[in-house]
Subunit: 201 residues, 2 copies
């Protein structure tokens, strides 16, 4: 019997994806569920429903609550938090690099380091220098990885992943999908999704 | 020192308000927090940001996930669930009746019974007969209560409560607000809100 598994769909501009990316490793290990990181872009999915930016910017009261909720939740989890400026940041470069890295041993570490840079350290993930610094810290070759990330293969892969996310019914991030295609939306559903994955390997 | 307290802002058309309305009593008793039920209308708040109906109807993928999430969550909680048709239902009558009842001993029971009628029994809460039946079951006088609910005083009260909700930054339901004006949004934050209330009586 295959080990239970769960797809973790993440968007690097997404605030609650930061929490899920940091939390999912230990929780999945404890639950004995194998997790696959699936970076994608929310921009095209939002655009398809007429949104030009994050709903947290479009709807002011919702946005105010999100920042405060994130601040409180990070405090409860003992996670550092610093509100990124600007928000959202373009996540295309980070997502492409992650797709390169997830075929190598440093992919998940890159995801976590990128979220920390953006949401804990106030750095800009749309700045190639930030990404180069993260790659150096992971002993990846920044020049080679940046070049591969701009290849047609990786660009196509990110477009295909985003289209798959949309086809699966994903409308926000983080999202979790089990092998039987059960969709769970939001950091708040991480534990529930892992529980479901265990029941349906 | 006053007992810790929490305002529970509820909207009778709101799916997750059903869960919170059923759950809040025992949880608040266990936490020794005094809860005040505050019915209001989301319609005018949605309209102010350009929405003519529930976001679950406006955004199809979000709506599909909500119904499935509600189904799963009710199963986990052992709560009956039946998807209401139509959705959302006009909640004006129920909210006015609740405002009458919350000045009498049967107010919270009315709220719970109304949510059960709508989300567990497939009944229409915009039908005065449903409301009369609930009132009879609570030994309230349907004729007198219906008349008071249509009084100018109660109509004004519901408008004022809705305006206060908006001023407090409420944008969805259920919402919970502590005496120090900390806002928590959603059934998922009920336990956290109770915990906050205990820390800041």
């Amino acid at each position: 019997m295959a080990a239970p598994s769960l797809d973790f769909w993440l968007e690097f501009a997404s605030t609650y994806s930061y929490l899920a990316a940091i939390r999912i490793g230990p929780l999945a290990a404890a639950a004995d569920v194998k997790v696959r990181f699936r970076p994608f872009l929310l921009g095209p999915i939002f655009a398809a429903q007429g949104w030009t930016t994050s709903p947290f910017n479009l709807f002011a009261a919702k946005g105010r609550n999100m920042w405060r909720d994130l601040e409180r939740t990070c405090a409860d989890l003992g996670l550092p938090f610093r509100r990124p400026e600007p928000f959202p940041q373009s996540s295309v470069l980070a997502a492409r690099i992650a797709l390169v890295g997830l075929g190598a041993p440093w992919g998940e570490d890159f995801c976590r380091a990128t979220y920390r840079a953006e949401f804990a350290e106030g750095r800009r993930i749309d700045d190639p220098e930030t990404i180069r610094g993260i790659l150096s810290g992971l002993n990846a070759d920044p020049g080679a990885v940046m070049a591969e990330a701009q290849s047609a293969a990786i660009k196509d892969k990110l477009r295909a992943e985003t289209a798959e996310a949309q086809n699966l019914g994903i409308f926000g991030a983080p999202s979790f999908i089990t092998p039987d295609r059960e969709l769970f939306w939001g950091n708040d559903r991480l534990e529930t999704a892992l529980g479901w994955a265990k029941r349906t390997p």
